[in-house]
Amino acid sequence: MLKQTEGSKAVAEAIALCRPEVICAYPISPQTHIVEALGEMVKAGNLTPCEFINVESEFAAMSVAIGASAAGARSYTATASQGLLFMVEAVYNAAGLGLPIVMTVANRAIGAPINIWNDHSDSLSQRDSGWMQLFAETNQEAVDLHIQAFRLAEELSMPIMVCMDGFILTHAFERIDIPEQNQVDSYLPPFDPRQVLDPAEPVSIGAMVGPEAFMEVKYLAHAKQMQAIERIPVLAAEFKQIFGRDSGGLIRTYCSEDAETMVIAMGSVLGTIKDTVDEMRAEGHKIGVLGIISYRPFPLEQVRAALSSCKRFVVLEKSLAVGMGGIVATDVRMAVTGSGLKGYTAIAGLGGRPITRATLHKLFLQAEQELLPPVTFVDLDWEAVNKQLTREQQTRRSGPAAENMLHDKGLISAKFG
């Protein structure tokens, strides 16, 4: 049913349609609205049978999900930012045990300095955890990806994060088509676990594994993600058959056929990029877009193919590999190894810094003229940075950097946009 609703509420409805059996909730912005809505559904008896557990930490949230999933229950939780970091040990454990938990990550920056706004640092920090990561461009896609995620996770017996931009998507009201229960039921069969804690057939799960088999177990996780590369497009196609729309898949291109400059990004910023590309196309620029939906597994071949006919590319990413540059850009460059393509990395939108059409327009023009440095920090206030660097050169006790820079920039609460 078509609705004007909040992204978080829509995702909660989608989760409910997937018939989760155990939901673990710990509050952290900006994922709170999702679990709040689910909690209400369970409490009101509208989502049954389902256990909704208010845990004492994100570490416990993932741990309860691990226990529930190992006992054969379809398990779900949601988190963001510091919460994801607080549960990291259990995040790796869930993947290592091969438990098909689905978790929403309402992407948010990581402190310090503490910051509640959107970027992709949180889930990207879990790149190597063994979890698959699917990035939603819109709230409609966030809804659809959750349904596909349960199917894929349970097929492969591996966990999946569905990543949606915190606030930008989670708190946005927009038009969303909420699927019908019978559609979801025909797409997502009941959970048939590969391993289950059952007194009728006792197994030991999580035993110590020494050097004699550890590599094989780890390779299996890699093999599963390689299988996912095959399965994700198939599941997206099946999804389209039942739900009637394109959603998910590994990658998505826009105006790429004759594009000489390709812009690569993940998540909701793709919308702003597409609007910018429309403007630039109208001015005659040959520019296109490559959206990455599946960040893990990373679709190397598909990315290579999508970039095969362009002359240069810009990876615009809301993440930073400190001391290196881009995180997504590294993967993209890996995909085009040997192609001789010119690649640029643009770090943008960290901690919720707005990414505007005006900025992107300028950035892409520079990329087209091949005037960009290898790594660009988009809209960085160099004056503030240099002032702090000078201060640190001049004074041993220069004080806390973040507080100094805030002071230099003045009262920002009086500004917006």
Binding site: Q4, H171, A414
Partner: protein, 202 residues
């Protein structure tokens, strides 16, 4: 695309106002996108929320920096932040106040804009009168519908009925209806056409 920025303070229903606006637009078959400025949720702190309305899919995710319309829920904000920043020269402004624009010291400012598109409405009083609480957002949305002609009062009522039930819904509808009529009466020339008309539908 028509872009609306709503200014208010935490607790006044700023975010709800944009959400309701988007629902009203949705009821008319339009695409709408409402989103807050994502600050910490402290009562009384300045809050900004945004709403885009269009006849085609809205992909843009940047904040609204050049609004077509402003709804200002709290006139004390005028002295605190530059609420008019980026307002288009033909933009609409609806201010929640018992005072006139002149009394609020906006006479000079109005000269840079189309004065017929500026309006004040005592929305808090309407909220108190019909809902029993000093919540100005429903009268403001209806007032905005009247001022801009972008949305029909019926759509605002539909949105209210979707969000509220029983007495609360009735009170909000009464407040919205009175606000709509008040603003209509205040306006010299009724707008014959929607501001979205003529948008490129390509």
């Amino acid at each position: 695309m028509f872009e609306i920025r709503v200014h208010g303070r935490g607790g006044q229903g700023v975010v709800t106002a944009t959400e309701m606006l988007s629902v009203a637009a949705f009821e008319e078959g339009r695409h709408a996108q409402a989103f807050p400025s994502f600050g910490s949720e402290r009562t009384g702190a300045p809050v900004v929320a945004f709403c885009r309305i269009s006849d085609r899919e809205i992909r843009l995710r940047e904040p609204i920096m050049k609004p077509d319309a402003l709804i200002i829920q709290d006139p004390t904000l005028l002295h605190q932040i530059d609420v008019f920043a980026g307002l288009k020269s033909d933009g609409y402004v609806l201010l929640n106040s018992r005072h006139s624009l002149e009394e609020l010291g906006l006479s000079e400012l109005i000269t840079h804009f189309d004065a017929t598109r500026f309006c004040t409405l005592s929305a808090t009083d309407l909220g108190l009168k019909h809902i029993g609480r000093p919540i100005p957002n429903m009268p403001l949305i209806a007032g905005f519908a009247a001022l801009s002609g972008l949305i029909q009062l019926e759509s605002v009522i539909l949105a209210i009925n979707e969000k509220f039930k029983g007495k609360v819904a009735q009170g909000n509808i009464a407040a919205a209806t009175e606000a709509y009529n008040l603003v209509k009466d205040m306006m010299c020339t009724p707008f014959a056409s929607s501001p979205l008309k003529g948008e490129n539908h390509a």
